[in-house]
Structures are given as C-alpha cells and as structure tokens.
C-alpha cells in the first residue's frame, strides 16, 4: 500500500465516522438549531466522500446547493420563526411514533437488501477527473434529457409557488378563520388591481 492509498483509506474512515455521527446527532439532539448545524456537517462529509470518488464537480455542487442553499434556508427558517407555544401532549401519540418506526424500519430493510444484493463490481474505466463537467453535460442532453427537464420543471413550479406565496399579504388570525371557509383558495386580502409597474408604491 503506497502513501496515496493510505491517505485515501484514512480519510474515508474519518469522513464516514463524521457523517454517521453527525446524522445520528441530527436525529437525536433535542435542540433543533444544533440538528440543523449538524445537518450541514452531514452534507460536508458527503461532499468529502464524493471528492474521494474523483467526482470533484459533484462535491462542489453538493457544497453549493446543500450546504450553501438548503441548509442556510433551514437555519433561516428556524431562526425567523418566533412562535412560543405550550407543548400539548397529543392523545394516542404512540400511533404516530409506531407508524414512523414502521416506515423507517421498512426503508432500512429495503436499502439493506439492495446493498447486499447489488454485486458492486468496481468499474475499470478511468475516472473522468477534470473533464467530468463535460461528461455530465453530454449526459444531460442525451440519455438523461427527460429527468433533467423534469427536474427543471419541478424547480420552475417551486419558483412560481414561492412567488405566489410571497405576494400574499399578511392576514390577522381572526380574518384567517373566515378566509379558510372558501376551500382551495389562498387566504388573501382583496386589493385593487394595479395597472402596471411596482405595486408597493400604490397602497
């Protein structure tokens, strides 16, 4: 075993331990803020594993999207919500917990059978390395065109949904009850239509 292989094995071990430890922390810790920060640790460790697999573009994308965007937004949401609510014990909460346990156990069993039944033949092809961006691009526009386009449509839908939600004006709680009566309609304050331009100047 030469130096490079040794470094790879050691960093693989460190990254795996980091990832598993952080993931367990996300689930088990009481403080939701700590969970959110540890989630960032999980994403970073996964990016490190991608780096070990010679997939540096995927690793950077993982950091950019999951750590830089998703995790920051999660933290943002946690810190902006300032709702102090008494914790009310829910009757028959064990049903919910049992259902969660069943679903988690099922997913775990499915994934383990998949892991055990896959042959995991190590590909002998040389890794693309620095040219991986080009290879990924070619795949996006040939055999993975449909999933790529579907993902972009999904993102577009999320974008439009966010704009619709953000344009909604804030309703006080008592009005909210009334507005809820009309099914399938977002609670919104009636307002005059503005002919064009920026609507916040006309109020």
């Amino acid at each position: 075993m030469n130096l490079a292989e040794g470094v790879q094995i050691v960093s693989f071990g460190i990254l795996s331990v980091m990832m598993l430890g952080a993931a367990i922390g996300v689930v088990l810790l009481d403080s939701i803020v700590y969970s959110a920060f540890l989630l960032g640790g999980v994403f970073i460790s996964i990016a490190g594993l991608y780096l070990l697999l010679n997939a540096d573009f995927i690793a950077a994308a993982q950091v950019l999207i999951y750590v830089g965007a998703v995790n920051v937004l999660i933290l943002f949401a946690i810190m902006l919500v300032n709702k102090r609510q008494e914790f009310q014990p829910v009757p028959r909460a064990w049903i919910r917990k049992a259902a969660t346990a069943a679903v988690c156990g099922g997913i775990f069993a499915l994934l383990s059978t998949m892991v055990l039944s896959t042959p995991w033949a190590i590909s002998s092809a040389t890794p693309a390395g620095d040219a991986s961006v080009v290879v990924i691009g070619l795949h996006f526009f040939s055999d993975f065109l449909l999933p790529f386009e579907l993902a972009s449509i999904l993102l577009l839908m999320a974008l439009i949904g966010a704009v619709v939600l953000a344009r909604r004006e804030f309703l006080p709680d008592d009005d909210f009850e009334k507005a809820q009566a009309e099914a399938l309609k977002l609670p919104e304050r009636p307002r005059e239509l503005v002919p064009s331009g920026r609507n916040e100047t006309v109020k």
Partner: protein, 372 residues
C-alpha cells in the same frame, strides 16, 4: 504559450537527485505553496488595513496613522497585537461551542479559496478543473458561520445581523454566479488558468472587461455585497445593530471576523482581476516585447522577469480594485435592507440572466471574439 517557471517540477527533481523516492519528494513540496499563500494572504490583510486607514484619512482630509513605523505601516501590526492580548470573553448566556465555532467557519472558506488564485501559468496552488466554481461553492458556506455566531451570541442585535448577512449573501450569490458563468461560457473552462489564458495575446485589448461590460459591473456589485462592504454593510450597520453578529465578540475571535472580511475583499479583487482584467497579463503581451527586442521566449532571465511581472500585475490590478472599494466606502451611503433585496432579486438577477443569454448568443454568432 511558454510554460514559464515550473518551481514544483524543479523542486521535486532536485529532491529526487538526493535519492528520495518521488512520492516523498511530492509530499515534501506540498506544504510550501500553501504556507506561502497563507503568509501572503495575511500580509495582504495587513497591507489592506493600512491602505484602508490611509485612504480613509485622505478622503476625510486627515493624515491617518503616522508615528507607528514609517508612514504608519506598523499600525495593522499594533492592531493585531492588541487583539491577541485582549481578554477572550464568552458572554455568560451564550452558547460556548457555537460561539467559538462560528468565526472559524467564516474564516476557513476565505483562506481555502486562495487555492485557485493564479499568479502565473504555474504559480497557483492547484489548477483544479472546477476552479472558479470551487470559490463560489466555498463562499456559500460562510453564511452558516455568520448565522451560527449570530445565534450563539444570545443577543438580538447579533441574531438580526446574522440573519441579514445570510439573506444578503444568498441573494447576491446568484448574480455573482451568473456573471461568472458568462465568463466560463466564453473560456470553455472553469479553471482560472484557462480563463486567463483565453484573455492573453492582445494585451489590454483582449481582457474580458471589454467583452463583458455588464457582467463586470454585476460581479463587482455582487462581490461588494458578499464582502459586506459599504454600501452593503447592513449586517454590521453600526447605527442600527451595534455591530451585527460581531457585537459580543472580542479578542482573537473578533480578529477572525476582521481578518475574514479583509481576506474576502482581497480575494474578490484578485478574482475580479483574473476574470475581467487578464490576471497576470501585462498591458502589452510579454511575447511581443520579447520578439521586438529579439529575445527568445525560453531565456531564463526573461522567464524570471515575466513571473515577477505577473505577480506584480495581479497584485496591482487587485489593489486598484481595493482602492476603488475603499473610495466607495466614503462616497456612497448605505442602502436599506428592502432596497438591497430589491436590487439583488429584481434588478441584478434579471440583468445577469439577460447578460448570460446575450453572451451565449454572441458566442454562437461571433465565435472568433467570444471563444466559440
């Protein structure tokens, strides 16, 4: 394109001649560029702090630091020493672990991004294939550190500052990445060395600033916002939030934020120089001058001169941009948070998208000028 000086190659060769195996020689080489870059980045911060004091003083018709060393050059050193010896206070109700971790998460990506800053053909720590993308990815980690320190301080000003910082950097990352993408489209590569090489050959006329007149403005605005410089220093707006997320910090932990912000500014200026101002290129191509003087491209002393000139040009361009940033600090007033977000989402984002579209169109129409 001549290869220039290959310090790594010659270092490893000389170690091998002592009878060391190539692997060990490579391992021995590895810490050198990193160490040089760390020291260089720290020295850059010292220079920047001194420049900021002197230029600010000049802008306000003061003299500025005068007695600490010649022209007050040692003023930043005195600052640093003061911060080192200051008591490190952790507020009683603060979250000690996150409070300590926050500044580290802010500083590490900034220093790590120096990996991809080229000062010459081979004067770069690693010429990774995804170069500039690595910088964008790393700089997106910073808001987590800011949120962490804002939350851990257990102080409403800190929390508000942290939230503002996160909102600001999320909003301005998009125009920044899109304007960089237009450059990448023209040079067909994410690597910073390739981006500079694509601008070489025509001296000052070949620089990307002429081909991306909108892109460089968007990049500069977004970079200033990412560095939290005035007019975008809302996260630490002292009239509203005391000092934002740094309110509770003192001693070395504060110094980490301080260093981090200046390292970030230097880095942005360096990358602006690489992306738009031709990196290490002189105003007139060195090859042309050498040809005019009848000197071969491979003359050793010419290569040394070219390397020194390259480092000098990169730094000169970067410090020119820093000078502009410091002047802007005393010229423009701070924007409000709603103006900031409006500018980012409703103006810069659409404009940078259109810029990208036009660049793609021009690349198809004029492949000669726009790197087809």
């Amino acid at each position: 394109m001549n290869p220039g000086i290959d310090l790594q190659g010659s270092f490893i060769e000389s170690l091998k001649s002592f009878g060391l195996p190539p692997g060990v020689a490579k391992v021995l080489w590895m810490p050198f560029p990193m160490l040089i870059m760390l020291v260089g980045a720290t020295l850059g911060v010292f220079t920047l702090v001194w420049l900021e004091r002197k230029i600010s003083a000049a802008a306000q018709q003061r003299i500025g630091p005068e007695f600490i060393g010649p022209l007050g050059i040692l003023a930043p050193l005195a600052d640093g020493l003061k911060l080192v010896f200051k008591e490190d206070v952790v507020p009683a109700k603060a979250d000690g672990l996150l409070f300590t971790l926050g500044p580290a998460i802010v500083v590490i990506p900034a220093f790590l991004s120096y990996l991809i800053v080229p000062f010459g053909q081979n004067m770069i720590i690693t010429d990774v294939g995804m170069g500039i993308f690595l910088w964008i990815a790393l700089s997106s980690v910073v808001p987590i550190g800011l949120l962490m320190s804002g939350y851990a301080s257990n102080n409403k000003y800190s929390l508000l500052g942290g939230l503002r910082a996160a909102a600001q950097s999320i909003s301005y990352e998009l125009p920044l990445a899109l304007s960089v993408l237009a450059i990448v489209l023209m040079s067909n590569s994410l690597s910073t060395v390739d981006i500079v090489n694509q601008q070489t050959g025509y001296g000052i006329l070949g620089w990307n600033i002429w081909r991306q007149p909108v892109g460089f403005l968007i990049f500069w605005i977004a970079a200033l916002a990412e560095c939290e410089r005035i007019p975008f220093d809302l996260p630490e707006a002292e009239e509203e939030l005391v000092a934002g997320y740094q309110t509770e910090y003192s001693g070395m932990k504060f110094a980490l934020f301080y260093i981090g912000s200046y390292v970030n500014l230097t880095l942005s200026a360096l990358l602006f120089a690489v992306l738009y101002l031709g990196g290490w290129e002189f105003f007139v191509p060195i090859g042309t001058i050498a040809g005019f003087l009848n000197i071969s491209d491979t003359t050793p002393w010419l290569q040394v001169v070219a390397a020194v000139l390259g480092i000098g040009m990169t730094l000169l361009k970067a410090y020119f941009l820093i000078f502009i940033a410091i002047l802007m600090r005393w010229t423009v007033p701070r924007v409000r948070i709603d103006q900031l977000l409006d500018l980012g989402w409703k103006f810069l984002l659409p404009v940078s998208l259109v810029n990208l579209l036009i660049t793609a169109g021009l690349k198809l129409a004029f492949p000669v000028a726009f790197g087809g």
